[in-house]
Symmetry: C2
Subunit: 480 residues, 2 copies
């Protein structure tokens, strides 16, 4: 049996999967819903989502996109109008057949994604080139009936944002795809502190109905990949299916070029697995519900003074924009609280006791540091924003280094198999689906993307020796 820490989480180093499952529950990020595969996002997890939403929504709006809300239910017939799309989603659909006490004439699909229902609306709203580009986004829940589910990573219902845009030209649509990638890149790097690779999906891994899918792929602490956002160029596939046309300045009726892009609550699973360690979560300060927790220590008369000092310190931290909590729960020991806030990944813990007060100091325990520090009580609030920024930067740098240390250029089958067992493999690849299948069967690894920033390179496929496609190396990895 695996060892467990005080709060009962299997160490990551012993069983990554058990560590993850236990941590999500014990840190009170989420809980299981009553229906198989569904999730309750608890306040601590939901606050992370709200912080993600705030950061992303601001970027989406700053580039001229507007939020809207489209219906949950899609008539079955709508989904069938784009053939590849329905083929891709058919096995995962949840279907409403009865409503208002009667059987419905046409079953309703609970949206797995909204291209079809939005496509129909776009067709009605767009008339002339003056209506373009049409740039929309929605924050919504979607349902995909998955066989194997895991909290945050793969749940029957999840929360996300989905951007949907229509453009007058292929060039504008192509630029939009990258604008969205830019949001995600900033969010993931600057807020989630995750170093990612960005590139094109290979044809077999594209969104159902897309001409091109760009994805961001982060590396988890077990070396697996997790997709943290995708952006799709839908070409004229959906505008043809839904008749999304416009009259050009020259008076010609043309098909629009559309895009869609999304980021979901999966990202929270990514944050857990990209940064967490044996002691629990490590939250990046910019997305941490509490950036600082103050644990007052003391008994009897001493405690009253400590609690006052803690409240005053919390107020000063709030003044400089720090999200802070004073953990004044009476029934729990300081040691239990230390473990709990480590488990819950709070970046900085401040321990404040009567001796600290007398000395004008406070004990600071940073979640990434081995040693505690004594710092001056009078200065710590003013210093905290810089300390949190340094913490954020260190976390990103650690993520970058970890990814590079677990990524290898591979040129042979054996090297490929070996590399994907611990991380990412950069391999020249023939683009033959049969070759992809063989790799997947042997290793469970799949092509994650063809990175934008990989150098031009040609040569034999690492797996089968046939000439390479794509003009550069493809990243293979096992993925969540």
């Amino acid at each position: 049996m695996a060892r467990t820490n005080t709060l009962g989480v299997t160490p990551q180093s012993e069983d990554f999967s058990a560590w993850y499952n236990e941590l999500v529950l014990k840190a009170e990020l989420a809980d299981r819903g009553p229906v198989r595969g569904t999730m309750i996002i608890r306040p601590y997890g939901y606050r992370i989502w709200e912080l993600i939403q705030g950061e992303l929504d601001r970027r989406i709006k700053a580039t001229g996109h507007e939020n809207a809300y489209f219906p949950l239910f899609i008539p079955e017939g709508h989904l069938r109008r784009e053939a590849e799309h329905v083929d891709g989603f058919a096995p995962e659909l949840a279907v409403v057949t009865h409503a208002g006490g009667k059987e419905l004439d046409e079953p309703l699909i609970v949206r797995p994604t909204s291209e079809t229902v939005i496509g129909e609306a776009f067709a009605r709203w767009i008339d002339s080139y003056r209506d373009l580009p049409l740039l929309m986004n929605q924050w919504a829940n979607v349902v995909r009936w998955e066989l194997r589910t895991r909290l945050f990573l793969r749940t029957t219902e999840f929360l996300w944002q989905e951007g949907h845009t229509a453009h007058a030209s292929a060039e504008e649509a192509a630029a939009e795809v990258l604008t969205a990638v830019g949001f995600y890149e900033e969010l993931v790097r600057d807020c989630a502190a995750m170093s990612v690779i960005i590139g094109d999906k290979t044809p077999g891994e594209r969104f159902a109905g897309a001409d091109r899918t760009v994805s961001l792929e982060a590396m988890m602490r077990d070396g697996r990949a997790l997709q943290t956002g995708t952006s799709h160029d839908l070409g004229t596939n959906f505008s043809r299916a839904f008749d999304i046309t416009f009259t050009s300045a020259e008076g010609v009726v043309e098909l629009c070029h559309t895009t869609s892009w999304g980021m979901s609550t999966r990202l929270i699973g990514g944050i857990i697995m990209a940064h967490g360690d044996d002691r629990g979560l490590v939250l990046p300060p910019r997305l941490a519900p509490y950036q600082v927790v103050i644990v007052p220590i003391g008994r009897g008369d001493d405690l009253a003074g400590v609690l006052d000092a803690a409240a005053s310190l919390a107020a000063r931290l709030q003044e400089v924009g720090v999200r802070v909590k004073v953990d004044d729960r009476e029934q729990l020991s300081p040691g239990f609280k230390f473990n709990e806030w480590e488990l819950r990944g709070v970046p900085v813990r401040l321990e404040l006791g009567p001796r600290d007060l007398a000395a004008g100091t406070v004990t600071l325990a940073a979640r990434l540091a081995e040693e505690k520090e004594q710092v001056r009580l009078a200065d710590i609030a003013a210093e905290m924003p810089d300390r949190l920024t340094a913490f954020q930067d260190a976390l990103l740098e650690r993520s970058r280094r970890f990814r590079l240390e677990h990524t290898r250029n591979v040129d042979t089958w054996d090297e490929l198999v070996e590399a994907v067992s611990t991380g990412f493999a950069n391999a020249l690849h023939c683009a033959d689906p049969a070759c992809e299948d063989r790799i997947k069967e042997a290793t469970t690894a799949t092509p994650r993307c063809v990175p934008f920033d990989a150098p031009d390179e040609q040569g034999p496929c690492a797996a089968c020796g046939k000439p390479s496609a794509y003009g550069r190396r493809v990243v293979f990895a096992r993925a969540y």
Copy 2:
């Protein structure tokens, strides 16, 4: 056929219902979804919702409530555990019977409200009195299959927030019910500029499963009532059904007392109908997507200067926190734009032409005023926040006066019938359901609430002459 204005909306005074339906579409607040009774909330309408969310969410969090997210799907069996609750909602349920390509063993209900799924989670999370009060809220979509639907007012799917709390005592739960009413009162009065009455629902109008329901009732411009928020004391009904218990400080296992409270996208329908007029919407500044629209006027060389001045004015307005838009669409005439922004209810329109520029003035058209005003260009940005506050106050005062002018104390059947044809009737009432039914049949009016602030009064029921119940007058009205 009714007359229509330039943008084609039937005047409110000729056909209120047609006015509403056309206005929602023409102002681009919402559109119909492909499934009967569903709604697309377009960016202009969704922005109002975001502003409502911001105002309400802040108040909810400031009082210690935390946001969370619970699943969309509820097992059918869960809903049956509270008997009154399932009876109330059964006719309106949408049911998922198939998912992942198979028929499900147990059908899933698409949540019409979340007491049951949240109740089950509360039962797991609450252990001791130290876990109480548990104060949660979620922003979510819900589905109720309505026979007669109307955009915003009654849609198959709508957006709302639902608060759910558990307490150690009946007193604390009762206080919580009023805390939530306090949020709604502030939101509706200070942001939506609607003067409401607040009071208890009569037993026949309570939430299914509640011991007590408090509602806020606003008056629309046609004299009908619209409920703008409800707060329910659920007593121990749900904690009994879901086994939500706690161990008290004395070591005794007791049932929790729970509450729930909600406010939805219906409020947007209320804002439209409480303030709108023949020319279209009138939006309260605090919830207006654009508080000020600048319409530049001019041709050729003149226009460039005007556009520069408009951009600079917009920047100054933004600096003082005003939400402003410069309508620089080239293909439309100023006159068209004036009508359009009136239709869309923008509180203040600023018209800026070469002659204004030369004179250092700008023409100001307030949405509630008959006459335009010339104001000094140099001063208007600094003055605008106060002007918007004055607009907001005037709108609330107009709403209050309208409600009072259309409310009558009635003591006879004839007076009651007459009063509810144009507004609210304050009537002593016997509380007999048969008497309520008779009133409803004759007038379609129902008891809206028993206002908190009505004076104590007894006497014969206005409808049937039997002795009055409730100890004060009940408000009867036709309602949305």
